[in-house]
């Protein structure tokens, strides 16, 4: 399937993998790229040299294009931004902030820059700052989220900008893909579905929680801190939400979540860890390879779009 995004990025299918912290490492990124989508390494809060290593390992596993997600709240963001250029990465997506200050250097190096946006105003300003495309991410997504839904945000962003729009949040199968195309998107970004990919290094306990999750099993923590996070409810979120309701300090809340994502993804502690996942987790019922997932989604979507 050819769209503005497949042409822009030189990929076979308009499916991009989300830059999930801890989850989006080189095995997953390479597998998604090898399957014809765009794999992404989630730099999250990793030191720049770790990101460099991840990029090099991805290159060993694939000769297809892949990207790096730069989390702008990361104190190392500046160094990571440089490493991306030095290693010749072709695509950068950005999250948790405003990438404008890195835009010049990236554009000069020929890097395609795709900020993740959660509002029309942000999309417009990113277009003006030189973005090649934007990911319009709805509140259905897992992890850090905005408040507009994918259904409402995507068409409004599509109308507001002239660059291609990638839809994200709540998409996990061919129906979601086709719907996103109908809203005017040129590609989709998926996170939660890839968490349970066979190639994903996420702990089996975490994958099991995503597979078992039902439609209403996610909650939003951290609304009071200004950085809301969607995750599957467990003992930790119960405690967090209780503290939040009682007006606990930012320090107390942060103490509870310190290292909690690593605990869940790597150690498989699904009781005290942070199980970031989107609302679409309820639809996801088994582990598959990235190739199988992408082929299945594209077959179903093509059928629907040709109806």
């Amino acid at each position: 399937m050819e769209t503005k995004i497949t042409k822009l990025l030189g990929i076979k299918y308009p499916i991009i993998q989300g830059g999930m912290a801890w989850v989006a490492e080189y095995h997953l990124a390479a597998a998604v790229s090898n399957a014809g989508g765009l794999g992404i390494i989630g730099a999250a809060s990793a030191p720049a040299e770790i990101v460099r290593e991840q990029i090099r390992k991805t290159k060993e596993l694939t000769d297809k294009p892949f990207g790096v997600n730069v989390m702008l709240m990361n104190p190392n963001a500046e160094e990571v931004a440089k490493v991306v250029i030095e290693e010749g990465v072709k695509v950068v997506t950005t999250g948790a902030g405003n990438p404008a200050k890195f835009m010049g250097a990236w554009k000069e190096a020929g890097v395609k820059v795709i900020p993740v946006v959660a509002s029309v105003a942000m999309a417009k300003l990113m277009e003006r700052a030189g973005a090649d495309a934007v990911v319009a991410e709805g509140t259905e997504s897992g992890g850090h989220i905005g408040s507009a839904t994918t259904m409402t945000l995507v068409p409004q962003v599509v109308d507001a900008v002239n660059i291609p729009v990638i839809a994200a949040g709540g998409i996990a199968d061919g129906r979601g893909f086709a719907a996103a195309m109908m809203l005017g998107a040129e590609a989709v970004q998926m996170g939660t579905r890839f968490v349970v990919a066979k190639e994903s290094i996420v702990h089996a306990n975490y994958k099991e929680q995503v597979i078992k999750a039902k439609d209403i099993d996610s909650v939003i923590t951290g609304t009071s801190t200004g950085h809301p996070v969607r995750q599957i409810r467990n003992k930790m979120t119960k405690e967090y939400l209780r503290l939040e309701k009682e007006g606990a300090s930012l320090e107390d809340l942060e103490y509870l979540t310190l290292g909690a994502l690593r605990k869940a993804v790597i150690d498989g502690d699904v009781v005290n860890g942070t199980l970031m996942a989107g609302q679409i987790a309820g639809l996801i019922d088994k582990e598959m390879t990235c190739q199988e997932m992408i082929e299945e989604i594209m077959t179903q979507a093509k059928e629907l779009l040709n109806k």
Binding site: N98, K101, M122, G226
Partner: protein
């Protein structure tokens, strides 16, 4: 200028009838998040017919900084 900017801020950030001075901080005092600031930028651009560079956003943390920024861009006080 302060009076008009305060009106725009109140409207964009839905903060109700709070006192807004040059020292008012967007994040700490008005609890504005990054998306709120993008909304504010769009509104200020429209009002004053200027272009606010996204990379300048991190410098604009107070209402006074907005006024200085606009003055630098040639907006009459």
């Amino acid at each position: 200028m302060l009076e008009r900017i305060a009106e725009i801020i109140k409207e964009q950030l839905n903060v109700g009838d709070v006192e807004i001075t040059a020292e008012t901080k967007f994040k700490e005092d008005l609890e504005a998040d990054s998306l709120d600031l993008f909304e504010l930028v769009m509104a200020l651009e429209e009002e004053y017919d200027v272009e606010i560079d996204s990379s300048d956003l991190e410098k604009i943390t107070t209402v006074g900084a907005v006024m200085d920024y606009l003055k630098d861009k040639g907006v009459e006080a």
